[in-house]
């Protein structure tokens, strides 16, 4: 299908990636996966996704950093990004905070785990 939309899914937990992948594939999307921010940036040109689902807490290059770099790239700055996070606003300290989410350039963010209906509805909204 030429009008099949493609999702780039980035998360460091393979089981989580596997589960989300099967949910969105079941809804008819094509999926490319990356397991950290660095890998996501590497495969971005070849993948050329319509939307990016990006976990925040990842090794190497974290989600916020990856998001910033994608938004700084004129070729991909228009691609909507949904940040995924298991971080609640109560966790402060040296991890990521609610404020980071609000200041991020990402179009949307969803807490993990995410119900299939919610996830698919949000993806549809941005495409």
């Amino acid at each position: 299908m030429s009008d099949e939309k493609k999702i780039l899914l980035v998360d460091d937990d393979p089981d989580f990636v596997d589960a989300v992948k099967s949910i969105v594939e079941g809804a008819g999307y094509a999926v490319d996966v990356a397991y950290d921010g660095k890998e996501a940036l590497e495969i971005l040109p070849a993948s050329n996704p319509d939307i990016i689902i990006l976990d925040v807490m990842m090794p190497e290059v974290n989600g916020h950093e990856a998001c910033k770099r994608i938004k700084a790239d004129p070729q991909f700055s228009h691609v909507p990004i949904i940040l995924l996070t298991a971080v609640s606003s109560r966790v402060t300290s040296s991890t990521y905070t609610h404020r980071d989410m609000l200041e991020s350039e990402a179009e949307d963010y969803i807490p993990k785990p995410v119900e299939p209906e919610v996830l698919l509805a949000r993806i549809k909204d941005w495409l």
Binding site: D15, F16, D18, V20, S93, S94, T95, P113
Partner: protein, 487 residues
């Protein structure tokens, strides 16, 4: 008051006694200079009535003896009018007064009363002097005590007068407050402390006379995190005489607080992330339709992740118990090979499932250590499990034990993926996990090795690792032998 009358004439002795009898004095008598000195040596007297003209030892000699040996005694000399010059000589020698013979009882009473008053005054003076000396001593001791406390105080102490001029500081202040070596005494506090807030704090305390406590971040007053207690010095009248500021270094407290909250944040993430994956897999089952194989795969992964998670919580609790010292090691003689055999039996199915050969090489001797069997079993399980996890199918894990001096050395060697050199120093850190393509999909808490290290160190042993990327990793555990071989 005790009075001694020394006279060779009985009439005079009795006359004196009669005249003074009802005056409240205790009166004793001596018939000669010799007898007088004998009595003076034996008992204490306040006043001596002394005849100058006596056969044998004369009065002047007795007077000189008294001045030399009993200087506190008041001496009144008794003398005939013919020998007034003698009396004058006696006065020069230190007699208090003289009485000429014959004398009236009133007169002698008067002279003796004056002597008694003077004696009482002298006693009181001596007592006061002694008291003052004791007070001085007590004050000096107190001062020395305070000075020692002041010098030994770990905190920095800065004392100012009411104008904020530094009048005193302890040695710790030089270091803690980065005081210039140029003397700070006699100058305004703003010359030694550059931070405006700290100076304002001290100025406010000397102005208002109210204590205050403030904290200063590194870079304000000095490179340290400081807590300052500033209090006014008040006179008895309530007037403000100056200020005392004690600076306390709380850098370590702050660092510990930071470490603690970082740790809590990390634990929170490690507790939540696997649950998010498990929940997401459950959602995936819901959307998996009638794909039974897919469903089974997800269920298997969920089961595995739950087991891993329980193990993580178990490890976390064990680590915490070990660190707070609330764990009691139940030490008993353990034959290492026996424990290893039990552990290998438990993990063998996992190794076979990945087509990994696991071999326990029989050792030359039954190496025995004094250890807690449950704890040691956890250590061996964690290490051997890791070896299986990080070895590709078709590889092998070799376990062996040998004696080395007074240590038993257990080696767990695998033909696995190895550990990068830059990761090696961190593998015993809490929550550290080697991340990359090769380790993707290998579940783990990042606590197994931290726990192993803590347990082995609690047994006075050590754990070492060497590794070559793509070739394999060898962990070596050394534990003290129960019966080391004789040298």
């Amino acid at each position: 008051m005790r009075i001694l009358v020394i006279d060779d004439e009985k009439v005079i002795r009795d006359g004196c006694q009669r005249a003074l009898a009802d005056q409240g004095y205790a009166i004793e008598k001596a018939e000669s200079g010799h007898e007088g000195i004998e009595r003076l040596e034996q008992s204490a007297y306040d006043i001596v009535l002394l005849d100058l003209m006596m056969p044998g030892l004369d009065g002047l000699s007795v007077l000189r003896w008294i001045r030399e040996n009993r200087p506190a005694i008041q001496v009144i000399v008794i003398t005939g009018f013919a020998t007034v010059s003698k009396a004058v000589e006696a006065m020069k020698e230190g007699a208090f007064d003289f009485v000429g013979k014959p004398f009236t009882p009133d007169y002698i009473r008067l002279v003796v009363r004056r002597a008694a008053e003077r004696q009482a005054l002298q006693t009181e003076t001596a007592r006061l002097r002694e008291e003052r000396e004791l007070d001085h001593l007590a004050i000096a001791t107190e001062q020395s005590r305070l000075k020692t406390i002041f010098r030994c105080m770990e905190g920095a102490i800065l004392v100012t007068d009411p104008k904020g001029i530094v009048v005193l500081h302890n040695p710790a202040a030089i270091d803690m407050l980065n005081l210039e070596t140029d003397p700070v005494l006699g100058k305004h506090v703003s010359a030694s402390i550059l931070d405006g807030d700290a100076v304002a704090m001290i100025e406010e305390v000397v102005r208002k006379g109210v204590s205050t406590t403030r904290e200063f971040v590194p870079g304000a007053v000095s490179r340290l995190y400081l807590r300052a207690h500033c209090a006014p010095v008040l006179a008895a009248s309530g007037k403000i005489q100056g200020s005392v500021t004690v600076f306390e270094d709380i850098t370590t407290d702050r660092k510990v607080d930071q470490l603690k909250s970082d740790f809590v944040a990390m634990v929170a993430h490690e507790l939540r992330a696997p649950l998010a994956a498990i929940a997401q897999m459950i959602y995936a089952i819901r959307t998996s339709g009638d794909d039974a194989a897919r469903r089974q795969h997800l269920l298997d992964r969920i089961g595995m992740r739950i087991d891993e998670h329980l193990q993580f919580i178990e490890n976390l609790l064990s680590l915490s118990r070990l660190e707070t010292g609330t764990v009691v090691l139940n030490l008993e003689p353990l034959v290492i090979d026996e424990i290893l055999r039990q552990v290998v039996e438990v993990v063998r199915p996992r190794a076979q499932g990945k087509d990994i050969t696991i071999t326990l090489q029989p050792s030359a001797s039954d190496w025995t250590v004094n250890a807690d069997p449950d704890q040691i079993r956890v250590v061996f399980t964690n290490i051997i499990d890791n070896a299986i996890k990080y070895t590709l199918p078709g590889g092998n894990v070799r376990i062996s034990t040998a004696g080395n001096g007074c240590l038993a050395r257990i080696e767990v060697a695998d033909s696995g993926i190895g550990i990068r050199e830059e990761d090696l120093p961190h593998i015993f850190d809490r929550f550290f996990r080697v991340k990359g393509k090769a380790t993707r999909g290998i579940a783990g808490s990042g606590l197994g090795l931290s726990l192993a290290k803590e347990v082995i160190e609690a047994h006075n042993g050590r754990i070492d690792v060497r590794s070559e990327l793509d070739r394999g990793t060898t962990f070596t555990i050394s534990l003290p032998l129960l019966d080391p071989p004789a040298e």
